[in-house]
């Protein structure tokens, strides 16, 4: 049962990874990288590592995505203003 769920999640993750690499839009690439991390946290939970799952859900899919988006916003605005 666990193997089937991991295979399904893995197919979605690999598709999201290809989309993140080949997408023309930077925002879509960032969001799909976040999706990979979110699904990875489910995989960790199935592999009986709840501590790692919590960390990955909070850091990998939350803060990393936000930091990428902040960077994108700073670049769209034309860098720093000093």
């Amino acid at each position: 049962m666990i193997s089937i769920i991991i295979i399904i999640l893995g197919i979605i993750m690999i598709a999201a990874a290809f989309y993140a690499i080949h997408s023309k839009s930077l925002l879509s690439a960032i969001i799909s990288a976040g999706v990979i991390s979110l699904l990875a946290s489910v995989v960790y939970l199935l592999l009986a590592a709840p501590d790692v799952a919590m960390t990955e859900a909070a850091i990998g899919s939350g803060l990393t995505t936000i930091i990428f988006i902040f960077t994108l916003r700073k670049i769209k605005k034309g860098g720093l203003d000093d």
Partner: protein
């Protein structure tokens, strides 16, 4: 074009390197000697329910200290790279909903973070997860108002005090229990198994790690997200 071919050849070589590893990988159905010693030591010597916590804080405690140092250095690097001389005052109003909700949710999210790192030795979670939750509470403030100003004195004070006390607790072990006991949690009485006040100094150390990670990540978010 020639580049693309070389890259594909390199990746193919990497895959060929991995394949024997995958083929000969044998799955044990028993824990190794070191791991079973950690599990039994966590129950009998440390009174800590969460074995991952006792590995992170005690058995591999020096590595965690080094890891927190790397986090500090990365934060210092970001603060150095993204320093701004003046903050622009053109404010971009976010929606009413976000502003009201952020005032209400801030305290709740910080309390959840504190709960998670205080119960690090009982339930999944600990200093890193709790610290990240505290940082997300301040992220909500940044999203609600991009010009929000944090009190940098307080942030730096919390960060440096938690780091200093972390190292001091390590040296306290050396002082009280003799050699080979840097970061030993048995300097505080161990308490009974499964209660909040158990596992000696592990909750104290993990709370300090939580405060340190929280303040450092808040600084990173402030530097990256501030306008």
């Amino acid at each position: 074009m020639i580049n693309r071919i070389f890259i594909l050849l390199a990746l193919l070589g990497l895959i060929l390197m991995f394949l024997p590893f995958l083929k000969d990988f044998d799955f044990h159905d028993q824990l190794g000697d070191l791991s079973s010693q950690y599990v039994e030591g966590s129950i009998n010597d440390l009174n800590s329910q969460n074995v991952v916590t006792s590995v992170v804080v005690t058995y591999r405690g020096l590595d965690t200290l080094g890891e927190v140092t790397v986090l500090f250095l990365a934060t210092a690097g970001i603060g150095f790279l993204l320093r701004t001389k003046k903050r622009s005052k053109k404010s971009r109003k976010s929606s009413e909903l976000l502003q009201t909700a952020s005032q209400f949710l801030l305290v709740l999210i910080i309390l959840t973070g504190i709960y998670i790192f205080l119960h690090g030795h009982l339930t999944p979670g600990g200093g890193f997860q709790g610290g990240v939750l505290i940082a997300t509470a301040f992220l909500l403030l940044i999203l609600a108002d991009a010009n929000v100003e944090f009190n940098h004195k307080v942030l730096h004070l919390v960060e440096s005090f938690s780091g200093t006390f972390y190292v001091l607790i390590g040296f306290l072990g050396l002082l009280l229990l003799g050699m080979n006991s840097f970061l030993d949690p048995t300097i505080i009485p161990l308490g009974s198994f499964g209660k909040l006040l158990s596992a000696g100094a592990i909750p104290v150390i993990y709370s300090l790690v939580g405060l340190k990670v929280g303040s450092e990540l808040t600084t990173i978010l402030d530097k990256m997200g501030g306008e």
